[in-house]
Symmetry: D2
Subunit: 369 residues, 4 copies
Amino acid sequence: MGNSFGKMLKVTVFGQSHSTAIGTVIDGLPAGIKLDIDKINAFMQRRISKSSFTTKRVETDNFEILSGLVDNITCGTAICAIIKNNDAKSKDYDKIKDNPRPMHADYSAYCKYQGFNDIRGGGQFSGRMTACVCFAGAVAEQFLEHYGIFAVSHISSIGNLYDDKFCDININKDLTERLKNDSFPVINEKIKEEMLDYIKEIHSKGDSVGGAIETVICGVPVGVGEPIFDSVESKISSAMFGIPAIKGIEFGEGFNSSKILGSQYNDEFYADSNGDIKTKTNRHGGILGGISTGMPIIYNVAVKPTPSIAIPQNTVSLKNKTNEILRIEGRHDSCIVPRAVPSVEAIGLLAIADLLLEHRKDNIVNEFE
Amino acid sequence: MGNSFGKMLKVTVFGQSHSTAIGTVIDGLPAGIKLDIDKINAFMQRRISKSSFTTKRVETDNFEILSGLVDNITCGTAICAIIKNNDAKSKDYDKIKDNPRPMHADYSAYCKYQGFNDIRGGGQFSGRMTACVCFAGAVAEQFLEHYGIFAVSHISSIGNLYDDKFCDININKDLTERLKNDSFPVINEKIKEEMLDYIKEIHSKGDSVGGAIETVICGVPVGVGEPIFDSVESKISSAMFGIPAIKGIEFGEGFNSSKILGSQYNDEFYADSNGDIKTKTNRHGGILGGISTGMPIIYNVAVKPTPSIAIPQNTVSLKNKTNEILRIEGRHDSCIVPRAVPSVEAIGLLAIADLLLEHRKDNIVNEFE
Amino acid sequence: MGNSFGKMLKVTVFGQSHSTAIGTVIDGLPAGIKLDIDKINAFMQRRISKSSFTTKRVETDNFEILSGLVDNITCGTAICAIIKNNDAKSKDYDKIKDNPRPMHADYSAYCKYQGFNDIRGGGQFSGRMTACVCFAGAVAEQFLEHYGIFAVSHISSIGNLYDDKFCDININKDLTERLKNDSFPVINEKIKEEMLDYIKEIHSKGDSVGGAIETVICGVPVGVGEPIFDSVESKISSAMFGIPAIKGIEFGEGFNSSKILGSQYNDEFYADSNGDIKTKTNRHGGILGGISTGMPIIYNVAVKPTPSIAIPQNTVSLKNKTNEILRIEGRHDSCIVPRAVPSVEAIGLLAIADLLLEHRKDNIVNEFE
Amino acid sequence: MGNSFGKMLKVTVFGQSHSTAIGTVIDGLPAGIKLDIDKINAFMQRRISKSSFTTKRVETDNFEILSGLVDNITCGTAICAIIKNNDAKSKDYDKIKDNPRPMHADYSAYCKYQGFNDIRGGGQFSGRMTACVCFAGAVAEQFLEHYGIFAVSHISSIGNLYDDKFCDININKDLTERLKNDSFPVINEKIKEEMLDYIKEIHSKGDSVGGAIETVICGVPVGVGEPIFDSVESKISSAMFGIPAIKGIEFGEGFNSSKILGSQYNDEFYADSNGDIKTKTNRHGGILGGISTGMPIIYNVAVKPTPSIAIPQNTVSLKNKTNEILRIEGRHDSCIVPRAVPSVEAIGLLAIADLLLEHRKDNIVNEFE
């Protein structure tokens, strides 16, 4: 259970790291939406790391769309896309099965699934599953484009190195393009270099490091979101924790809002020359009372350090209930933050698309009489 | 929409600050659970502030249970409890309706509901609605007690004043009792005094301040939670953002995990003398892969400063699309953090109860042969 | 569990026959809908029998709306209405608890709820719970009125006495008004007399009889309904079986369609003088592929005979596992069919309202470009 | 939307008649269930007609399982199986698109999906989609086998030819085996011959005929089902109408119950020599108050005549809004009833499996103290 989310736009993922294929079913998209397959592909390629200090497995993420389209146009029924796991190889997983890796799902999954969970490559807990999320997010992105809604993301921190924040800068087209096309998107170029150097250093020590990813979704009209429990924050956060390694989420100033005064935090309203109502600042992150305010929606998520490190760690033998030393072999990402960027963005796009479809009811009264 | 959450234990809230009553429907509790009404009442009283610098409205939160019990024992159908809004008085809300208060839901709700939203006392966005959440949480608490599961919470920060963290201390019975019975629960007594002084100071200036609340849920067995999208984090966070003023949530070390190295963050497994498998530290907050690990579940939430401040603020006239100055009259909470504590705890209890009911399927295979 | 249904318009009921109150929560209605309370009341009064051969309990079904409205206009949050159970009296239910009544839920509920179910007056299985459904249906009726959608129902059979069928007659305003205002609505007046005589006869023998109720919903536009599993039939049937005593449902010609040939059954399309596309006949009952066709939606439900009869019956002692003779005392409805009419109609109205709200997404593509 | 059903066991289908593939995702099955792939295959083969008077398209329904299993044992995550549409060929569908076939979904789908629906081979409305339902049902069957639960079905009527009913006969192992292995399962062999002759006759005239299918599910323990709106009947009926051509459903005596007296209909309880409580007769079809009674669950569904007939029919041009004559070419099933049998059975199995998983909570109170 737990492989689906969404109410009006329902996304279901399936697969394990080494199953025949992984895939996504997207149900609820209206008929008549033309999809640009190349753009979906481009979105998904952002998940494939290019940098030397990250993953080893050569994933191509070539998806095949099985249903839901006629001539690349949605026909009103569910879209299913699959990605074959060509790279899967049978190797000896017995040791891994008996010695749970710290900070992985090995132990909790072993207990939950009575030892029947698929341990190969992390099974259903593999980061590979985010390819499914990215596919769905890429489809949502094209749907939202018709409304002028788009998302941009950046790596807001690596360790204690912090990028500029979206609420403090002007989000223009140039920046958007630059971040979209960068596999390690950082607003401040100097900080980016420091981050890359830092990861390289950590990598050389066999250690790992986490960071944070901030996304802004622009163009969402005022009135989207269903308070109390289907608020914009509820929808985004609920799905976000489906991405492995996410340990926290905050909206707008988030945790920082708890440190400053009301008089410092409050965003005041004003009417611009067109009579449009806006806030001068956007510390609230585009959401009040769980409903979008028309200002950009901003969230920031914490990504924990990659659990697999080259340094020996203590663990147990599940069979013998004895203490053991674990040495994780092979090479692993020292920092998965850059690879998580499109997934974190995808979740926001999917949540907004879902709520936007529900939002259509809000103006019904204007059609009456 | 948005008034319900939960799958096996479904909670639905209704009401507005000044409607005839507010209430909760709890569906899914098995039959035969005896409820101690006094204990529910005690839980709810924690929401009623005693301190002078907080709310004015004298709420008694006397609930009436309309259904679902026979002799205080669950009979298998939905429990409904209501709280009458005796204190509601009709006053002039026209001005508030036209001049949205910064950081309240006034503007976004006005747009979403085409001006038909209930503006009286904040309507459905009132903090008063959390009384419904507390009632449900108090019921869940008694259900979970049968499993030896309990929750404790404290104010982990006010402004930049930080209490000790649960993952760094020993959670013993004495501490638990003390925190449970304190309307301003802080682990470190010295910090508590500083916090109270600080709030008093902010209050005297007509300003407001936020903070953070940390909850630990002890006794949750390993294997609870449905990855990917119904993970423990997904369930808790999704419902948590139904509480007004929550702007962020983190699990275990949360955002801090993104600042330290894998070698510093990883919790190593060990087998204790009984052969029970545990982690020496609990930076992961009791959840791996979205599934409980048997270690205490820990989350921390950010509470924004009370939006209503005595200081004049800029706003607009919705009718005239002109800029206006807003002066919020009456006295308001300078800090709602203490009053939010039981609600933040209630959400966690409800999410765990929901997932625990679903968890019963996990061991089915052991009954086969 | 099981007290809620609906996706865009979610209805939750609570209460037992002798709990403090029963009630309904309706979530999802857009803001700005003015409700006529008298009309709701009139709808609910149809459930209160006037005929001498039916129930004894003097129910007034005076509801109180607790939330969701401001000046009788929906404000965007959930509507809750309750009906107090003033008539409830404590009497000895021990005997009933031990001797399950044939064809009631006594035995299955006793087992499911481990003996903790509320046996007083049938508990949550009481026909009284349909008052909650009627309240919700009456609200949906007023919402649908804005679209020119309305429902009419009649008693299509009592025992082997059959009324005319909706698909064979002209549904005009006069007929509609007549049926709406009749507590025993039958199209054919002569058959109605025969039905009433028949029930009287059965009543005098201490026996009971069932029948069928047919509803037509006119004005539903083409395109409503979500195939495959949220089809119009799925939505209506799923909720319909929430009404006690319903044992079957069919759409259009229903079971009769299985007895005739394709050439006799098929409804052929034609374009009328305005170019509107219709079918000459309506044996399909307004639904094809799970989607409305623009023709009236027609369904017919089977109502079983009242289980409580004056004739002695065999039963068991649950405690002693021995065979017993049961004599049900007091006076009971010999035929609950007339009282079930508004509930059967209400379910259809609620299902259509729910799907109509979801249907708003279907034309999105026309708004693009 | 509408491609999913189920709460604890969620089934999602995708695909169109001529998409690359069709498929099913099954989420919620506990880990550790061994699946016999040959048995799944055998279940699905029942859907493939052998008789000459039915379909032409040579379907093999060779499924491929993409995920959810390790060595054919469930691993706790979603099972996805796909069936390639090898037989799909591009032909000219323009005419069909403009001239909706009577009693097919062509017109309602055209309107709902703004003309973008997949018309090839009936698109998502094709009977072929029931292969997905059969796959899921075959999996559910193997899960339920562990509880001693099994289902048997027969063709209860073709036109006006009626087979014996399950509630009137002894359901023994021989009968079960015989019906399971018959592609045209009828209890009464003589009636079976008459049915086959009748279909042959209808077929020779280019006409079509419907019928009814009755299923009994044996071994369901007492207490399964969640009243009010998630009753056994609600669950089964809701999903059943996802099968094309189903126009009605009844439980136990169903519509017949509305024709007889309470004294004739009521099933009386008795305690057998083991002290087990049963009913002597089973007119209630194993469900009271929406909850299983421990007696076999019985439902009967109406299947409409195949809409495609060789006889010319009136239709319209959607483009020109003019009246047209439609001649459906090619050869079609004169009677789809036999092919629908495994699907009708599958739905019941899936609904029971879903409710059985939820039922595990009902005895919680016995584990306390």
